[in-house]
Each structure stands twice: as C-alpha cells, then as structure tokens.
C-alpha cells in the first residue's frame, strides 16, 4: 500500500484528569483513495481527525504526513497539504458563499496580504467544480444544509490541498444531498486527492470509500478493504447491535438484523 499518512502509537487525552480518548493507536492511510473512518458516536473519530490535521498534539506517538513528521512542517506548509471540512461550522457574520470560499486561499497569503486575481479565479473555478457557482452571492448561513456542505468542499478545493479531511460530511443530509457529496468525494479521489472522512453511517462509507477503518473505544478495531472490514461480526461487535451485511449484484449494504434484535 502506498501510504501518505502514518500514525504510530498515538495516545491522547484532552487533560491529564480526563478519560483517555485514543490509546496506542497505529494506522496507515492509503494515498489517492477515499478512506472512511467508521465507528459509533463518541469513539474518538473527530479527535483522530484533529490529530491528523495537527490541531491536537498527541501525548505519545508520532504522525507522519507525506514522508515527514508533523512537527517538521510549518503552519503554512501544513495548511497547503491538508484541508478540513469540519462537522459544524457556525459563521457569526453574513459572509457570502464567495467571500467564504475565497478564504481557502489563506495558506498562500501572508496575514497582511489581500487575495489577488489568481486567487479570485481559483475561487470561481472551485465553486464551479462543486456545482454551486449560482450561489456565489448568497449568504452562507441562509442556504440549505446540503448546499452549505458543498460550500465547505468548494472552500477546500480553493485551498488546493492533496489531502482532505471531512468530519461526518453526510450527517443530517437527505439522500439526494448525500449522493451529491459522496459522488464529489469519489471524483476528487479519481483526480488524485487523498480523502479521509469520518462517518457513523456504514452505508455512506461503503458508497464512497476504497479503504475502511473501524474504530472502537479509541482504538482501531479493523482496517483494510471492504471485504475484510465490513463484516457482520465486526459491525455487530462495535455497534453492539445485531447487524447483517447484504451483498447483491454489485452492491453491499449494512442493515440491522431485526430477527436477532430483542
């Protein structure tokens, strides 16, 4: 496997008095693929994403990104390498979709610099690639949840990073919008981007991902291709619910096993 991110022996807690969130976690993430990190709520998926980003520093263990350790990169170098779509983004001011998307150019500008013509062009192209150029002048907080998720993705396109982290990108979205987001992720991977998404929904993961990581209680329960990871035994164990994996003509689907439920 051609890996772009490597975690080794990661141990993390928010405060020495708080419970341990991640313990002795090691993981490789394949290059130019969509990796889905699956697991129940509160199992440390977002924390893991923030460690990949460099926002949180593990108390033990090392993170390698594109062949170098995290701490060898400057803030700005890292922000040209890894982009993030967070799970929640509250925007207190009425920025337009365009103004918000343009902020993706920050890694290429110093704090006193204004975006130039090239930056504006890239922002327009990104909005077009995400299919939301027509929303450019609308305030971000006044569009639908699905459109807002596309705006976040357009902002990350503008950032132009080879690695994209998405935290629960399809949570709270209807099926049509899930489809729009996940198809876009597949297209990005096809274009050479490495995409890592967290999700608590196995079916969303199956739809978009090439590589699967199952997390449970701050540790990796399984990692690998779909047939190794997405099994009834694995899923039933970590979600503590009887689960069946249905395979049909070209599709795999995870369903709750009603017959075995109490």
């Amino acid at each position: 496997m051609d890996k772009i991110i490597s975690l080794e022996g990661i141990h993390f807690q928010y405060h020495p008095l708080d419970p341990v969130v991640l313990s002795d976690l090691s993981l490789d993430i394949p290059s130019q693929k969509v990796t889905a990190i699956l697991g129940p709520n509160g199992t440390g998926k977002t924390t893991l994403l923030h460690i990949l980003l460099g926002l949180l520093k593990p108390s033990q263990g090392n993170t390698w990104v594109a062949g170098k350790e995290h701490r060898e990169y400057s803030r700005r170098q890292l922000s040209r390498l890894i982009g993030l779509v967070p799970q929640f983004e509250s925007i207190p001011f009425n920025f337009t979709v365009y103004e918000y998307t343009l902020m993706g150019r920050s890694p290429y500008l110093n704090p006193f610099q204004l975006p130039g013509n090239t930056d504006h062009e890239i922002a327009c192209q990104s909005l077009e690639a995400a299919g939301i150029l027509h929303l450019a002048e609308k305030p971000v907080m006044e569009i639908s949840g699905g459109e807002r998720q596309l705006v976040h993705i357009a902002r990350v396109f503008t950032q132009g990073t080879p690695i994209l982290l998405l935290d629960e990108p399809t949570a709270h979205l209807d099926l049509q919008n899930q489809n729009r987001i996940l198809s876009l992720l597949k297209k990005m991977a096809a274009g050479g981007a490495t995409t890592v998404m967290t999700t608590h929904d196995p079916n969303a993961a199956i739809y978009a991902a090439d590589y699967f990581v199952l997390m449970n209680r701050g540790q990796i329960a399984a990692a690998g291709p779909i047939e190794e990871v997405i099994t009834a035994e694995n899923l039933s164990a970590i979600y503590q619910t009887p689960i069946r994996v249905e395979k049909g003509n070209g599709y795999v689907m995870v369903v709750m096993d009603k017959e075995r439920m109490q």
């Binding site: 803030r75 925007i91 902020m103």
Partner: protein, 314 residues
C-alpha cells in the same frame, strides 16, 4: 467635513466662523490652529480607532455585540485616570500615562486570567475574564469616587468619566499618535485576514492561521490605541459597537471592505458628534453623553427596522 468642522464653533458667534474672520482676526487664527485643529484630529482618530478596534474585536470574538470596553480596557483606563487625579498628579500627561498603563494592565490581567480558566472555548474564557476584570476596576473607581474630595477632585473625575475632548492640545495629540497610528495601520493591513479569525478555531487553523499569535497582535495594537485615546477623551461608548454594524450593513460582512469603511464612518461620526458637543450649548456637552445618545438611538433603529442578527449557536 474636516475643514468645515474647523470653522464650526462658538467664536466669534455660535455655529460658524466666516473665512474673513479667520483672515483678519489673530485670535480666531490662534483658536483654530491651537485649539480646534488638534481637537479635530483627535476626534477623527478617536472615531477611527474605536471603530477599527470594534470591528477587529467583533471578528475575533465572533460576536457582533462586542466593543473595545469589553476586555476591561475602558474600566482600567478610568481607574488609572482616577488614581492619577487623586494621588499622582493632575497634569494631563500623567493622567494619560496612568490610564494607558492601567488599561493595558487590565488587558494583560484579562488575558492571563483567561489562560487559567479550564473550561469553555477561547472566546468564552476571555469574555468571562474581561467581565471579571472590568467589575474589579469599576469597583475600584467606585471606591476612589467615594473617598475623593467632593469639592475639588470629584467634579474633575466625573467629567473625565463622561468623556470629552475639551482639553486636547497638540502635546496630547503627540502622545497619542504613536499608539493610534500603529493600531489603525495593523487593523487596516489585516482587514482581509481578520475574516479568517472569525471562523471556527479548527477551520481557521486548517487554513494556516496561527490563531493565538494573530489574535494577540491584533488585540494588542487595537487595544493600546484605544487605551491611549481613552486616556485623553474619557470613556466614549457606542462608537465601537454601532459603527462597525452600519459599515457591515452597507459594505457587506467581509472586513476587507467593511473595516476600512467603519474607520472612515467612525472618524466622521465622532467629528460630527464633537462639533455638536462644542456648538449646541454655550457650555460644552460631554462627548461621551452625545455619542451614547446618538449611538443608542441608531442601535434601537437598526434593531427595530432592519434586525441586527446575532447568532449564538456553535
């Protein structure tokens, strides 16, 4: 507007000095050059600094209802001035220095306190600390007022607290400039970047912002400019709150345009307010009272007719 303001006043008669008088009357010339000009420049700077600081703080704190008085800066300055009037020296320069020192102390205190609080995000911690530090200093001011000599010290203290530019000289201005200009300059230069600082911490971080450092630089420059001006003007409320609002409403949310616009509008606003303070009555109306009155009326108007949007979730 600036030139017109030079000619507005109560000499030789209320409201307007004809150019002919300026040419022929040496007293009029003296008055315009030695009193009105420095005062006007100070009024302009005051409005610009308060609006720039207001815009920057609102972005940094992700809250459109924040203003420069927020971090204990105003109360710290008031306390410093009171200490100086009571115990040190009533020389204007000493009052200014003491007010500046105490407001920076208040900021440092609030900042230090915020690093010691263990719960809540960065913004909540700093706001809580600011409230606590403000309360401490305003209690201190209360004590000083109580023990002040009611015949000599109390009137001066009270007038200073109401705010006004009645005593500004070129020398005061010379002391203020080294703080005011860098404050305005840094806010202006960071006018696009400050948008980034209003996003979620994790998003701003992923976009390459060194959050702590950039916020601290912006805070330090805008607050020390505010403190220096507060030291000569007294507490002038509402400009830092209401002007950035109006600027955002006209020029959009992005600070790239709305921050410079707020600075211009703020300068204009405080110049006009000061013209009114000088001219309306034979005696001077304290500027702080005027800006509060106008600011509050504008605020009520904006709230009722246009709806100021405050989003508190997240």
């Amino acid at each position: 507007m600036f030139l017109a303001s030079l000619l507005i006043g109560r000499y030789p008669e209320p409201f307007w000095m004809p150019l002919r008088v300026l040419r022929d009357d040496p007293l009029a010339r003296q008055l315009v050059l030695k009193l009105r000009l420095p005062r006007l420049i100070t009024a302009l700077l005051l409005g610009m600094v308060l609006s720039a600081a207001g815009s920057a703080l609102q972005m940094i704190f992700r809250n459109p209802l924040v203003e420069p008085g927020f971090l204990g800066v105003s109360q710290g300055a008031a306390f410093g001035a009171a200490v100086s009037i009571l115990w040190l020296n009533r020389h204007p320069l000493v009052i200014e220095l003491s007010a500046t020192v105490f407001s920076l102390l208040a900021l440092a205190g609030a900042y230090f306190l915020s690093t010691r609080i263990r719960y809540g995000g960065w913004v909540l911690r700093l706001i809580l600390s600011g409230v606590a530090v403000s309360a401490l200093f305003s209690a201190g001011v209360g004590v000083l007022k109580y023990i002040a000599d009611p015949l000599t010290e109390l009137p001066e203290l009270t007038f200073w607290m109401l705010g006004g530019l009645y005593s500004v000289t070129w020398r005061d201005l010379a002391f203020v400039l080294p703080f005011a200009l860098p404050g305005i300059g840094v806010a202006y230069l960071m006018r696009w970047r400050v948008n980034l600082l209003s996003l979620n911490d994790e998003t701003a971080f992923s976009l390459g912002a060194s959050l702590g450092r950039e916020r601290l630089i912006l805070l330090l420059f805008t607050v020390s400019a505010t403190a220096a001006l507060t030291a000569i003007s007294g507490i002038i409320g509402w400009i830092g709150l209401i002007i950035p609002h109006i600027a955002r409403r006209i020029f959009g949310a992005s600070a790239e345009k709305s921050l410079p616009a707020a600075m211009l509008l703020g300068g204009l606003f405080s110049m006009i307010a000061d013209d009114l303070a000088r001219t309306l009555l034979p005696g001077e109306i304290p500027l702080g009272i005027l800006t509060s009155a106008i600011g509050a009326i504008l605020f009520i108007y904006l709230m009722i007719s246009l709806g100021i949007k405050v989003r508190s979730h997240g």
